[in-house]
């Protein structure tokens, strides 16, 4: 089924302050979701209390990581939540992209790819620390957002190889997101069994990009 136009118009404007305030909270929800604490974003409100305590404890990482260190995972979770945030559809953190990436590197990646991923993450961290002028992980949300915005624009303006680490991590987050049920069917459009071929139809009839 296609979503109605009304549902689709509820988008907040990009990077609005309201969104930023959400970032860390959403990040924590995502992390919790990925370790099985919460499975739907719908019941967010119920978790406000535990979120607060989690934040207090600064213990925002699952302890069953198989590839990333806690710090790497936290960085990745922030990246994920900023690159593909919750809007009128859940974002990449909500669908557990960091956890999927942890599993991917533990179960799928060769030693070489594992090393490359570690290098990519560490390069991203260094760049972001520099742009933030402080430890990116503990920087205020606003600074995190502006640093990442800057890193992203650098990565896509200069030479490609310069920013391969960031670009490859970003691509991977996108792959997991748009291949997820939320990404494919709520954010984009997907039909497992289309059943027919219509070669040329007005774009509005589909309304979004086909996920596959």
């Amino acid at each position: 089924m296609h979503k109605s136009a009304a549902q689709e118009t509820q988008n907040q404007s990009p990077n609005a302050p309201a969104n930023q305030g959400m970032t860390r909270r959403n990040l924590l929800i995502g992390i919790m979701a990925s370790v099985g604490v919460a499975t739907t974003v719908g019941c967010v409100e119920n978790f406000d209390k535990s979120l607060a305590s989690l934040e207090l404890e600064k213990n925002s990482h699952p302890d069953n990581l198989r590839f990333y260190t806690a710090n790497e995972y936290e960085l990745l979770s922030i990246l994920t939540s900023l690159i593909i945030p919750d809007t009128d559809t859940p974002g990449a953190l909500a669908i557990g992209a960091p956890k999927m990436m942890d599993t991917l590197h533990a179960d799928w990646a060769s030693t070489e790819s594992k090393e490359k991923q570690k290098i990519a993450i560490s390069e991203i961290k260094q760049s972001l620390d520099k742009l933030a002028g402080q430890n990116f992980l503990t920087a205020p949300s606003k600074i995190q957002l502006s640093s990442l915005t800057e890193l992203d624009s650098q990565a896509f303006s200069g030479k490609k190889n310069k920013a391969w680490g960031y670009r490859s991590v970003k691509s991977l987050i996108a792959r997991f997101y748009y291949s997820s049920e939320v990404g494919a069917t709520q954010e984009l459009r997907y039909e497992l069994v289309p059943g027919r071929w219509e070669a040329c139809i007005p774009f509005e009839k589909v309304g979004r990009t086909w996920a596959a």
């Binding site: 945030p85 999927m100 996108a174 291949s179 139809i201 009839k205 589909v206």
Partner: protein, 567 residues
């Protein structure tokens, strides 16, 4: 006493047809298949959604490196963790090549062979293809002409089901078609503009072995219309594309005359020096390694070109010390494929408000024009282009973060038309497969030693095809064309187009060919070969439809001889 009337070796594209035709005419048929059985409910992955499998359904990298390095480099697009069982493990099925002459031998060992995995592009050869060898002197003359095969093309197309459009082209004769998958608006625009600029060239619907309007016969086999998912290399629970599994084998089994034995690796054919006939088929059980001989009045080899040549070379006897049916020394020679390298794509503007519904299997095709409607070419023979026009999808490789990024991906990218050439490869006796003198597989069979390279004509042809692709896109209105006319090209490795052919060619003269006009061995009357091995030349069209027609034709001839007691 023979146990069976006929033995068919291999259950793939050609073997399925041989089995069906022989069984339907009342013969007791045994199909020997080296791979295991396929159970759709267990083996097909066509209902797997993108989010149901971990790790994006990718095969672990170390596993790829250890077990599938060759298969994966050639067909990574079709190899997922959920479908890897459709492909051989290179670690288990090695072969030898000279270091500087890599070859891609891409295959799957299971019931149905590569009919389960193919791209389903289905084109007849044209009259020129049967005359090419005699005209330019490469290879030996085909012993048949287009008109000999025409009724058999019709025969197999009716049963298989080919979606396509009647175009009336001499060089690419029309099939019996079910309705084509309509062109996208940009493909229509591309076609119009291109045909205006190049009156000697045509853009037509791809011809694909998909049911768009199934017949009673097709439905009675449990086949249904294509659901437009384009996931075909995961298997199709609807039986909507042609495969041995969906079509020919069910038909053969329905007769009650056909038995399939799996895990039966054919080691060699036994030869009776007195009767001058094949007397038995020696088989190794892939699992128990038990050796067994089956007997029948005649044998069809359908193990695919390279495997068929190996079985012949492996079958040594007093009369045939260099391999069965090999008095011409042509067995294993003239190994052909198609060649690719030329490719380009460009964007089309002005259709942003248009999109499509469904994932169409196949796109458009530009039939061969070189040395057909245009004669000024610095190379022999020619090529066709497969292609298609669709919108670019979402990407993580774009600037922007946050809601901007999400918004940008909600809108599909530009329309893009891509072209991809498939060229003819000239037969060359030096391109050959032999049995390796020392190395053996885990069943004790000698490994294939494949020595094959692309030639000068192929290079020149692809260079010109690249120029043509660029010019056509440009003339048709494309912008941002990704590869220019002078792009440096790397030819596809031999084997990489997965159209291996020629290792036991048909011909008029037993001194220079292995098979006669009925795909029957000149040397051994009760031996028939109707996989790609029999092809004296390859044309530039995807070849499987031709194997089907040749198999059906040969099977009918064999039944005639059988009934007359001649074999």
């Amino acid at each position: 006493m023979t146990e069976y009337d006929a033995i068919v070796v291999g259950s793939g594209m050609s073997g399925g047809w041989s089995a069906k035709e022989l069984a339907e005419q009342g013969l007791k048929v045994l199909v020997l298949e080296r791979g295991g059985p396929i159970e759709p409910s267990k083996d097909y992955a066509d209902f797997v959604t993108p989010w149901e499998r971990p790790n994006l359904d990718q095969i672990p990298e170390d596993e790829v490196k250890n077990d599938y390095p060759i298969q994966y480099r050639a067909v990574r697009y079709a190899m997922r963790d959920s479908t890897k069982h459709f492909w051989v493990k290179d670690s288990e099925h090695p072969y030898v090549t000279p270091k500087d002459k890599p070859y891609d031998w891409i295959r799957g060992y299971h019931t149905g062979g590569r009919s389960l995995l193919w791209g389903r592009q289905s084109y007849r050869l044209g009259p020129q293809d049967f005359e090419a060898n005699i005209k330019d002197g490469h290879g030996t003359d085909w012993p048949i002409r287009y008109d000999d095969l025409k009724p058999w093309y019709e025969y197999v197309e009716k049963f298989a089901g080919i979606a396509g459009s009647n175009e009336g082209l001499e060089q690419l004769p029309d099939s019996i078609f079910q309705p084509p998958f309509e062109m996208t608006c940009v493909e229509k625009e591309f076609k119009k503009n291109l045909e205006e600029s190049f009156p000697t060239r045509k853009v037509i619907h791809a011809r694909v072995a998909h049911l768009t309007k199934p017949t009673e016969e097709q439905m009675s086999l449990g086949r249904g219309p294509c659901q437009v998912r384009n996931h075909c290399n995961r298997g199709c629970s609807f039986g909507a594309y042609f495969s041995s599994n969906s079509a020919t084998l069910p038909a053969a089994l329905k007769t009650g005359n056909c038995t399939i034995v799996n895990n039966a690796i054919v080691h060699s054919l036994e030869y009776d020096e007195v009767k001058k006939r094949v007397s038995g088929v020696k088989v190794i059980d892939a699992q128990s390694k038990e050796v067994k001989t089956y007997t029948a009045r005649f044998v069809f080899l359908n193990a695919s070109s390279i495997a068929t040549a190996m079985i012949l070379l492996q079958s040594k006897s007093a009369s045939f010390p260099n391999g069965l049916a090999n008095s011409s020394d042509q067995v294993g020679r003239n190994l052909m494929d198609h060649v690719s390298a030329a490719a380009a794509s460009g964007e089309f503007e002005g259709f942003d408000d248009q999109y499509y519904y469904g994932r169409r299997p196949g796109g458009v095709y530009i039939p061969r024009y070189a040395n057909i409607t245009e004669q000024d070419k610095p190379y022999l023979r020619g090529f066709g282009y497969q292609g298609g026009g669709k919108r670019i999808g979402w990407t993580g490789n774009r600037p922007g973060i946050g809601e901007d990024f999400k918004q940008a991906n909600r809108k599909p990218g530009n329309w893009q038309v891509g072209l991809y050439a498939f060229g003819e490869v000239l037969p060359n006796p030096e391109n050959r497969v032999t049995l390796d003198k020392t190395k053996k597989d885990k069943w004790g069979l000698p490994l294939a030693n494949i020595n094959c390279v692309m030639g000068e004509n192929e290079k020149i042809m692809m260079r010109e095809a690249q120029k043509d692709a660029y010019e056509m896109l440009k003339a048709a209105g494309a912008v941002n064309i990704n590869r220019g006319p002078d792009t440096e090209l790397t030819l596809s490795l031999p084997g990489n187009r997965i159209h291996e052919m020629g290792t036991a060619r048909m011909g008029r003269d037993p001194k220079t060919s292995v098979l006669n006009e009925w795909c029957q061995a000149h040397d051994v009357p009760n031996l028939f070969i109707t996989d790609g091995a029999c092809m004296p030349s390859g044309g530039c069209q995807n070849p499987s439809l031709t194997y089907m027609a040749l198999s059906a034709r040969a099977a009918h001839h064999a039944v005639k001889l059988f009934k007359k007691g001649e074999i």
